[in-house]
C-alpha cells in the first residue's frame, strides 16, 4: 500500500463530496459545546480540527436503540406474533476522521460480536460496510493514555486509511485494499514530497511523547484474579461513584445491551439498547435476585471486566484504548488511570 498527499483545500470539500456521492459519510461535527460523529449532510460540516468527540462513534455500529424485529398483534393478522426483521441500512459507509484509539476499540469489540461460532449479524454487517478513514492525533488531550493501552496517536489498527495532518494538507497512509478502493472515487492526490515524508516520523514521535505514561495492563494480567477481586482497593474506589451510566455510555469498548419490547396498540418492536453495568437493573434476575446489588460490586465489575477479565479471556491486552472519555466525563472524578495503577500494584493501598 502507498502514501499519498492532498492539500486541505482539495480535501474539504472536494474529497468529502466525492465520498458522499458514493457512501454514507460519518464525520466529526461540532454540535453545541462538543463534537459528535454525525451522518454528514454537507462536506463543510465536517470539522477535522476537533480534539475528539464527547461520545465515542460506537453508535455507528452499535446504535443506542436499535430496532431488531417488529411484529403485529392484530387478531385478524395471520402473521400475528411472528417476528420480522426490521429494516436496517447496511449500505456502504465511510467513517471519516475517526481517532486511532476509537478504531482500535472497535477491533476489541469485534472479539465480542464476531466469534467463530456466533456472529452478531448487525454489528458484523455494519463493520463490513464501513471504510475507516482515521485521523492521527497531534495534540492529544491531557486525559489521553492510549500509549499505555497498546495503542497510540498514530496507531493504524482497525483502519483502512490513516490521515496525518501536515499543516497545509493531509498525508493518507493507505492500509488496506478497501481503503484503496474507497479513495478511487476521489481525486486531487499527489505523491508525498520527500520533505513532508521526512517530517512524519518526527510528528509521530512528538505525539507519542506528549502522552503521559500511566499503569501497565500486563501487570494486571499477571495478578491472581481472586486476589484482585477481593482486594481492599474497591472499598475506596467505589465510594464516590453515583452509579450513573456516563462512563459506560461514552466508552467505545462498552458494548453491553438490553433487549426489550415496546408495543403500541397492535404493533410491536423488539429493541436492543445500550445498557450499563453501573445500573442495578443490569443484573436483576426475573426472580428478584440481584447478584450485583451493591455499588462496590458494580464498580469492581466495570474495572475488572476492562482491565482483567478481558485480558484473561482473550489472552490479549485490556478492553480499554485509553481515549480518556470516562476520565473527562465522570461527574465524581473516578479515574481509570488511578484505578489501573492500584490494580497493577499488589502493595498499593495508595490513595488516588
Amino acid at each position: 500500500m502507498s502514501d499519498i498527499y492532498i492539500e486541505k483545500g482539495n480535501f474539504i470539500p472536494g474529497v468529502i463530496e466525492r465520498l458522499m456521492g458514493r457512501y454514507r459519510v460519518h464525520g466529526p461535527v461540532k454540535n453545541g459545546r462538543f463534537h459528535e460523529f454525525s451522518l454528514l449532510k454537507n462536506a463543510a460540516e465536517a470539522d477535522l480540527g476537533f480534539q475528539n468527540t464527547r461520545l465515542s462513534p460506537k453508535e455507528i455500529f452499535h446504535p443506542q436503540a436499535e430496532r431488531m424485529f417488529e411484529f403485529s398483534l392484530a387478531k385478524d393478522d395471520p402473521q400475528a406474533g411472528i417476528l420480522k426483521e426490521a429494516d436496517k441500512d447496511f449500505s456502504p459507509r465511510v467513517v471519516l476522521g475517526i481517532r486511532p484509539c476509537d478504531a482500535k476499540a472497535f477491533q476489541l469489540d469485534d472479539a465480542n460480536f464476531i466469534t467463530e461460532t456466533i456472529k452478531d449479524p448487525w454489528w458484523a454487517r455494519r463493520r463490513e460496510a464501513a471504510t475507516m478513514i482515521g485521523l492521527a492525533c497531534d495534540s492529544p488531550c491531557p486525559t489521553c493514555f492510549c500509549t499505555s493501552m497498546g495503542s497510540g496517536p498514530y496507531d493504524t489498527a482497525g483502519l483502512d486509511v490513516l490521515l496525518v495532518d501536515t499543516g497545509d494538507g493531509y498525508v493518507a497512509e493507505v492500509l488496506s485494499e478497501r481503503g484503496e478502493n474507497t479513495l478511487l472515487v476521489t481525486s486531487g492526490w499527489s505523491s508525498v514530497s520527500s520533505s513532508v515524508r521526512a517530517s512524519l516520523a518526527d510528528k509521530k514521535k512528538a505525539a507519542e511523547r506528549s502522552i503521559a505514561g500511566t499503569f501497565d495492563p500486563a501487570a494486571i494480567a499477571k495478578r491472581e484474579m481472586l486476589e484482585l477481586y477481593n482486594s481492599p482497593i474497591w472499598e475506596e474506589v467505589q465510594f464516590a461513584c453515583i452509579n450513573c451510566g456516563t462512563c459506560t455510555f461514552v466508552c467505545p469498548t462498552c458494548w453491553c445491551f438490553d433487549i426489550q419490547e415496546e408495543v403500541y396498540e397492535d404493533k410491536g418492536e423488539r429493541l436492543r439498547m445500550w445498557d450499563s453495568c453501573m445500573f442495578p437493573l443490569f443484573t436483576l434476575h426475573g426472580s428478584g435476585h440481584n447478584p450485583r446489588n451493591q455499588k462496590t460490586q458494580r464498580v469492581r465489575q466495570r474495572f475488572m471486566h476492562k482491565l482483567k477479565y478481558y485480558q484473561d479471556k482473550y489472552n490479549s491486552g485490556p478492553a480499554c484504548v485509553g481515549c480518556g472519555r470516562c476520565v473527562q466525563a465522570c461527574p465524581v472524578n473516578i479515574d481509570i488511570r488511578q484505578v489501573g495503577r492500584q490494580m497493577a500494584s499488589p502493595d498499593c493501598a495508595c490513595p488516588a
Binding site: P142, A240, V332, N333, D335, R337
Partner: protein, 315 residues
C-alpha cells in the same frame, strides 16, 4: 477558600480520633483540572487528604441516605439544605450526623472557562479564591472567578449552611438577587415556542441518568425509569421517553430541590435541566412561600395538607 481545607482536616482528625464519628465525608484533590472527588475518611491519617476549593460542586448530602454509624459531613449552603430534606424525609437521623458547615464562596463553572480558551487544553487549574489560574502547553491565563461561577451559585441566596454542628468560617454575605429572570422569559413564550425550547434543551440527552444519580433528592429504592414489573416508560432515546424522564424527574423533586446544581454539573452532554426544576421551585415559592430545606421544624407544603393551602387552579 483554601483555609477551609485546613479546617476540615483539623475537624475531621479531631472527630475521628475522639471517636465522635465513624467516618467523615468531604472531597479530596481530583486528578483532572476543576475536579475534586467525594471522599470518605475513616482514619485520622486519611483526613489529611481533604481539600476545599471552588471545585466542590457535587452535593455531598447525596451520600447520606442509608448510611449507618455516625457521620461527619462537610456541607456548604445547598448541601446543608439537602441534609434538612433528608432529615424531614427520614433518610438519616440528626443524632447520626455531625455537620461541618462551610459558608460557601460559590463554585466555578469549568465549561465557561473552557469556552474562553478556544479549544486549548487546560493541564492545570489553581483556585486562588478570587481568581483561577489555568495553564496549558503554551499558555497561562488568570480568570476572575466571579465571572465564571456555576449559574446556580451566581444566583444563590443561601450560601451559609442552615444547619451545622460547627461552622468552619465566618458567615458570608447573602445575596439579594432575582432568581427567576430566565424562568420568566420562558413563561412568556407561546406554548409552541416552549415546546421547541424544551425539545432543544434535552435533545443531546443520552439517558445516562447522571443528573438523577447526582441528585440528593433522588434516592427512591427503585426509580420510576427502572420499574420493570410493569415497565413505566421506554428505555430508548425516543423524544417522548426522554421528555417523560426529564419532566417526571423535575416534578419528583418539586419542593425538595435546593438548586445545588449537581445535575447540571454531572451532565456529560451539557443539558441545563435546572430550567425545569427552577420553574417548580418558583411555583412552590409563589404558592406557599416555601424554600426547600431552609426550615427544619415544619412539614414541607407538598407532603402535607393545610386547610388554607392556596387552590388557584379551582379558579
Amino acid at each position: 477558600m483554601q483555609v477551609y481545607s485546613e479546617k476540615i482536616r483539623e475537624a475531621a482528625k479531631r472527630l475521628l480520633s475522639e471517636k465522635r464519628v465513624d467516618a467523615v465525608i468531604g472531597f479530596r484533590r481530583g486528578t483532572v483540572p476543576f475536579m475534586n472527588e467525594p471522599f470518605l475518611a475513616k482514619t485520622p491519617e486519611q483526613a489529611d487528604q481533604f481539600v476545599w476549593d471552588g471545585n466542590c460542586g457535587i452535593n455531598l448530602a447525596n451520600y447520606l441516605p442509608k448510611m449507618t454509624g455516625n457521620i461527619a459531613i462537610a456541607a456548604k449552603g445547598c448541601d446543608s439544605r439537602s441534609i434538612v430534606i433528608h432529615l424531614l424525609e427520614n433518610q438519616i437521623k440528626r443524632e447520626q450526623l455531625y455537620v461541618l458547615g462551610i459558608p460557601c464562596q460559590a463554585m466555578t463553572d469549568k465549561a465557561k472557562i473552557q469556552e474562553k480558551l478556544n479549544g486549548r487544553q487546560i493541564l492545570q487549574a489553581e483556585d486562588m479564591g478570587g481568581t483561577v489560574r489555568v495553564s496549558g502547553r503554551d499558555f497561562e491565563q488568570t480568570f476572575e472567578r466571579a465571572d465564571f461561577l456555576q449559574q446556580n451559585c451566581a444566583i444563590c441566596t443561601h450560601r451559609n449552611p442552615v444547619i451545622y454542628d460547627e461552622l468552619l468560617g465566618e458567615p458570608v454575605k447573602e445575596q439579594e438577587i432575582d432568581r427567576y429572570e430566565d424562568i420568566r422569559k420562558i413563561e412568556s413564550m407561546l406554548s409552541e415556542e416552549k415546546r421547541l425550547y424544551f425539545d432543544d434543551l434535552i435533545k443531546p440527552c443520552i439517558r445516562c441518568y447522571a443528573c438523577r444519580n447526582a441528585c440528593p433528592a433522588c434516592y427512591c429504592p427503585t426509580c420510576f425509569v427502572d420499574e420493570s414489573k410493569p415497565q413505566w416508560m421506554g428505555k430508548t432515546t425516543d423524544p417522548t421517553d426522554t421528555r417523560t424522564f426529564h419532566f417526571l424527574r423535575a416534578f419528583h423533586v418539586a419542593g425538595r430541590c435546593t438548586d445545588c446544581g449537581s445535575c447540571e454539573r454531572s451532565c456529560p452532554v451539557g443539558i441545563k435541566m435546572r430550567m425545569f426544576t427552577k420553574k417548580l421551585e418558583k411555583e412552590v415559592k409563589e404558592l406557599y412561600g416555601y424554600e426547600a430545606g431552609v426550615i427544619q421544624d415544619q412539614r414541607p407544603p407538598l407532603d402535607t395538607y393545610r386547610p388554607d393551602d392556596p387552590e388557584p387552579f379551582l379558579g
